[in-house]
Structures are given as C-alpha cells and as structure tokens.
Chain length 169, copies 2
C-alpha cells in the first residue's frame, strides 16, 4: 500500500523510491531496499503497477514504475481499510515489564531511567523532523509518534514513581 501510495502522485523509479523511504520516511516506516524491489515485482505481477525502462545518457538504466487503474482502485480500497483498522500492537518492551519483579528495585529503576532518557531523545528527534515532505499526511504521522512518545514518557514516570514508593531511598 505504501508503495502504491508513492506512485499515486506520479511515476517513480526504484532508486528514487528507496531514497525517499530511507531519507525521508525513516522515522515512520521500516522497509529495506531488497524488500521494496521484491514488493514492486509482486505488484507488477499482480497488475497493480507497470514497469518501463528508461535510459538517461550512459547511466545505468532506470526502471520506472507507474500505477495502473487497477492499482489505483486497490490503493483506495487499502487506504480505507487501513484508516479504519486498529491493529493491536505488541510491544517487545512489555516482555521485560512482565518480569520486572525479578530485578531489585534499584536495578529496575536504573534501567527505566535509562529508558526514560531514550524516550526524551526520541522525542527530540521527532521534533526535528523537517516539515516539507511528500504530503500533509506525513506530518500527521510524525505528530502521532510524538503524541504516543509523550504518553510513553508519562507512563514511564508513573512506573518509576511507583517503584520509588515501594522502596524509597
């Protein structure tokens, strides 16, 4: 769906797509080069995108991917589904939380304080994501992350507070 979306506005070639993902959307999505190529192939087989080869000067040839009408329909379908969906998240970090009572209160607290620092740093990172980009929506997504990071921070502070109450210095 992401890849279809990137082709909705206009056709792009593979390198460009991967550039945008890596340099502009790195905060929001995690898709590697090889994966992107594989998916583009799949989309092409399914008839959602078409490929043409271009050559500019003597440079290596580019493969230009364009979305087909069928691909556009698919995109809008996926878009609606995606906006309605709520995929229940699983957090690797919760696994640690489940066993937090296996550490001493001090050790646990120390670990969580480290984590708190990382959350703060992450918040700073997101704040500094530039505001131009592919579309308005990207900023909304960045905002989403910021919002959730703030919530995470609040929660962490709460947990740390409870730890302190259980075992004050």
């Amino acid at each position: 769906m992401l890849l279809l979306g990137m082709l909705i506005a206009h056709s792009r070639h593979g390198y460009q797509i991967n550039e945008i993902i890596e340099h502009n959307l790195g905060y929001l999505i995690d898709i590697k080069k090889s994966t992107a190529y594989t998916i583009l192939d799949r989309l092409s087989e399914a008839g959602f995108v078409s490929m043409t080869t271009e050559q500019e000067g003597n440079r290596p040839p580019r493969k230009v991917y364009s979305i087909t009408p069928s691909g556009e329909r698919q995109f809008y379908q996926l878009l609606r589904e995606n906006l309605e969906m709520l995929d229940l998240q699983y957090f690797e970090e919760d696994i640690g939380m489940m066993f937090i009572d296996h550490l001493s209160t001090e050790d646990a607290k120390e670990a969580l304080l480290h984590k708190l620092q990382k959350v703060d740093q992450q918040i700073e990172n997101y704040k500094q994501v530039p505001h131009h980009e592919i579309g308005v929506g990207v900023n909304i997504a960045v905002n989403h992350h910021l919002h959730l990071l703030h919530a995470e921070k609040e929660w962490l502070k709460q947990v740390i507070g409870e730890l302190s109450r259980h075992n004050p210095i």
Copy 2:
C-alpha cells in the same frame, strides 16, 4: 527471553507454555505454537534450557523444559537490556495517515470514527483482563497498553476535530 522468563519460576512442559501464552498472555504477546516449539528447540541447543521426558499414565509423553544456570544468566542479561531499550515503533496505521488527504474529508472522518470505536472497544477489552496471572509484571504491561490506548484515543479525537474544522458540516 519470554520463554526463559516463563521457566525461571519453575519448569514447564511445552503444552503448558503454549496454553499460558494463548489463554493468559494473548493480549500482550503474539507467538504461535509452532514458533514456541522451534524456539524451545533453539534454546535447548544453545544450552539455555534442558529437556526431560515425563510420562503420566498412558497419556502422550510430556517434554519438560527447565532453565539451566547459563539460561538464567542469559535471562537476566536480556531482562536488563530489554528494560533499558526503546525500540522505535512503526505503525502500519500511519501509512494510511500519510495518505489521508487522498480521501474526501467526509470519507476520512467516517473511517476515523470507525477506528475510534475500535479503540474504545479495545480499551474495554483490556480493562476486563483478569488480575491474577503469572506475576505482578503482567498487570503492569496491561496497564501500559491501556495507557497508550487512551493516548491513541485522545490523538484520534484531535485529528477528527481538525478534519471537522477544515470542512465543517
């Protein structure tokens, strides 16, 4: 790490482990039966757990997994790392957000209202998770989810509000 943690308190056999994951931890983690068996094998090969076979009556034999001292060390190492770590999350849902301007305001709003309902429902679900379980930590993790779901709800309402402002009825 999860599996090591489940064996820290006492040995368990495979079926039991999968039962607990499926029935008691389904809200928090997502590991399928076949995966669990594979991981248990890997842990066994790595020397972090040992297996013995038991037979009770004429029932199918059980494989009982116990954690080894090396496994315990590994567990505590992983636990510390896990508690400090902050893995930056990627949300499939953000991909839709990135392209939200491709839908009409009404359609977008409708989709997000659906989603809001699902968030509410999810919150109810988590509220009703029973409070006994494997350890204190499980409740902390459930609480974490609740906290983040509330944040998600708030944010969604905010986005919907902005949509309405852009295109009031």
